[in-house]
Symmetry: C2
Subunit: 213 residues, 2 copies
């Protein structure tokens, strides 16, 4: 099982965390080691990450996570009760579709170079979608019937592995997170754990020595 990713790709970080939470071995393949045309042939979506299972490719982190969960059910990333499972998935989907997808580098670049938005405009864009998203995530945790230590249970899972890389991305983009005590408390519990610590950008083999942020 090969995971094609890049050190700072936060969708890839989600999958790295999931693989470690399930104690699954994988080979990390930095996309920089492949030719762009070769990667496009493997994955017409071109985005990262992709999971390569003996030459068969799965794109999109959410599809990879479901594949991992279905083929290696234990330990589960999701609550066992159907509605709670769905709510954990909805938490993850908000991060992936309404926060990450709107604020990743390719989007910021398009705003800048194609639509000629200046830096303060791009920052406004990023903060708007981040704030809308984090507000909803914090409120979702407030509304939980049980105030678990992690988002949806006593162990970290689907929602947490979406949240932690997104908090890191928000910090890199200088978003104010002080209004989110519940989200930050979950983060504090996750960061020391091996599955999260070893999945961070700076722990990846393609992390550049010269990178200072």
């Amino acid at each position: 099982m090969r995971l094609i990713s890049r050190w700072q790709n936060s969708a890839g970080e989600r999958v790295r965390i999931a693989l470690r939470l399930k104690d699954l071995e994988y080979t990390y393949v930095p996309v920089s080691s492949l030719k762009a045309d070769d990667y496009r042939k493997l994955n017409p979506q071109e985005l990262l990450p992709a999971l390569d299972i003996g030459g068969q490719i799965i794109a999109q982190s959410s599809a990879i996570l479901d594949y991992i969960e279905e083929t290696v059910p234990e330990p589960s990333l999701l609550p066992s009760e159907p509605i709670a499972r769905a709510q954990a998935r909805a938490f993850g989907a908000l991060v992936a579709s309404e926060m990450h997808a709107l604020t990743v580098q390719r989007i910021r670049r398009f705003l800048q170079s194609e639509l000629k938005i200046d830096d303060p405009g791009v920052s406004r864009w990023v903060r708007h979608w981040m704030t809308l998203g984090f507000d909803a995530l914090e409120e979702t945790l407030e509304q939980r019937a049980v105030q678990w230590p992690f988002c949806f249970g006593d162990r970290p899972g689907w929602a947490d592995l979406h949240l932690i890389p997104q908090i890191s991305a928000a910090r890199r983009l200088e978003c104010d997170l002080s209004r989110y005590p519940l989200l930050l408390a979950v983060e504090q519990r996750c960061v020391p754990l091996d599955a999260f610590r070893l999945s961070r950008p700076e722990a990846q083999p393609d992390y550049p020595d010269s990178h200072n942020s």
Copy 2:
């Protein structure tokens, strides 16, 4: 089971199709019949659709689809083989996260009113992400080992119910689809089917009589 949605909400259309493919009864609740504050209390994400199961709310169409698939497995929306399942999900996730989420009305409005992008600029934005997405979807269908009549099988399912509303949205936004013969062939097979026909915007009770587009 209540589905809170709006006639032209294409994420809601996906769920409507899924419910009909599984022959499940549901009550359609137009969001316009609720107060905005009441809806925000029900669903902190505020987006549409939401599934209300006896007062418990599931947000995000992908989480709703998984809930439906898990609680009513037959007829399945997904292929049975794990990698094919994942590829069908990746097809859907590309539509939801990289096409729909980037081009929906709230995004176009923010570009216009907050970032002062003119109409040709907004059109460029929409067409850029639509084209990237449809190019990848068409290539994904070309690469299939078997050229099924529907995206990933002999019956319509997960990928198809994402594709059809997105094609309609692209037409409303005047995107050129002539380069996508495989996608359009799938559409031709889906549109006459009840599950798709009865889920269309104009078949919903809140579709405005005066709407001409």
